[in-house]
């Protein structure tokens, strides 16, 4: 239950950053916080009490008390996608900074492209 609170706490902090801050890099940090919280929530949904990791590393492991492998497989691919999309967002922020000389969204909006 503690894990749920931690995961949704991170998501709410990320949403706060996205709503209040105007700086582009700060907003990308908020997106990355939301990513982390969502991954933590998905993994903690698949957890089983007193369970073991879904790897048959030694003989004699009981497959009935292993944790759910499906959320782990999905989160594994989601983490790798998130780094590529974050890199693309950072590239857009760098180009906007070169073009306008500022990272503030409120100032960028007024100027013509």
């Amino acid at each position: 239950m503690v894990y749920y609170i931690g995961a949704f706490g991170l998501i709410i902090i990320g949403l706060y950053v996205l709503m209040v801050k105007r700086n582009l890099i700060k907003m990308i940090i908020g997106i990355s916080l939301i990513n982390t919280g969502l991954n933590l929530f998905l993994i903690s949904v698949g957890f089983i009490k007193l369970g073991t990791a879904p790897i048959f590393s030694k003989p004699g492991l009981n497959p009935k008390i292993m944790v759910d492998p499906l959320p782990q497989a999905m989160v594994l691919t989601a983490i790798v996608i998130s780094v590529a999309t974050l890199a693309m967002a950072l590239a857009l922020a760098i180009r906007l900074y070169e073009h306008h000389g500022t990272l503030d969204m409120g100032k960028i909006k007024d100027q013509k492209w």
Binding site: Y3, L15, M19, A73, T77, V80, A87, E98
Partner: protein
């Protein structure tokens, strides 16, 4: 004012989240498909690591789409940064300190070897292509920290990346020829627990490791790439 409205909205939202996660129990088994994978995974695929079996065998087509998304994101990244202007401050970068340069030169081959170990043993122990590729990219990050003005060939990265991506699809089509469906496991499964087992799973994971490693290295290289242009000039 804006902050107060945002905090009020988030308080309402967190009360709704609290009501909804009360109905999700923590720590009990919820899905039947996860149970099926745990009970029959080794028999079906021959891989000891069930997560690897799900990623590459049960949901291999999903992984192909994910690798495509990764490729498109990196392509968009390099397109956006294609015509970078140079910064006005044209001072030379300070050379790295002695401890950093010696330490990174010493660590670089070991980190590279560790990454290769991770994605070769992906079907036996925790790890796999994605993690191994990330470790390889961090090894190259150390290398670029030591020599920021090193000229790297972007062509060779792109070539390696495209070839390994193509090899993934070729293995899938071979599964269509020799087996029944796309990405079917047509090689013998062997004894679970040996290094050469589980059919096509280690092969695909090796290609994914090379692909992810070269893509992430390309991102780091492009972001650090200011000094290369200066040398050309």
């Amino acid at each position: 004012m804006k902050k107060i409205i945002a905090i009020l909205f988030l308080l309402v939202l967190s009360y709704g989240i609290y009501l909804s996660i009360n109905s999700i129990p923590f720590g009990v088994s919820k899905t039947k498909v996860g149970n099926y994978y745990n009970l029959n995974g080794v028999k079906d695929t021959g891989a000891n690591n069930i997560v690897t079996a799900v990623v590459l065998n049960y949901r291999g087509f999903d992984t192909l789409g994910e690798v495509t998304v990764l490729f498109l994101a990196v392509l968009g990244f390099s397109t956006i940064l294609f015509t970078m202007k140079k910064k006005k401050s044209d001072n030379m970068p300070t050379p790295p300190s002695l401890i950093l340069s010696i330490g990174c030169k010493f660590l670089f081959p070991f980190v590279l070897l560790f990454g290769i170990y991770i994605f070769i043993h992906g079907h036996l122990s925790p790890g796999g292509g994605f993690q191994g590729g990330a470790v390889i990219a961090s090894a190259f990050l150390l290398f670029y920290l030591v020599k920021p003005s090193e000229k790297s060939s972007k062509k060779s990265f792109q070539l390696i990346e495209s070839l390994s991506g193509m090899a993934f699809i070729v293995i899938g089509i071979l599964g269509l020829v020799f087996g029944n469906y796309f990405l079917s496991n047509f090689l013998p499964k062997g004894i679970a627990g040996k290094l050469i087992s589980a059919g096509i799973i280690p092969l695909i994971y090796i290609f994914i490791g090379i692909k992810v490693g070269s893509e992430l290295t390309g991102i780091i290289d492009r972001l650090m790439g200011k000094n290369n242009e200066k040398q050309v000039k």
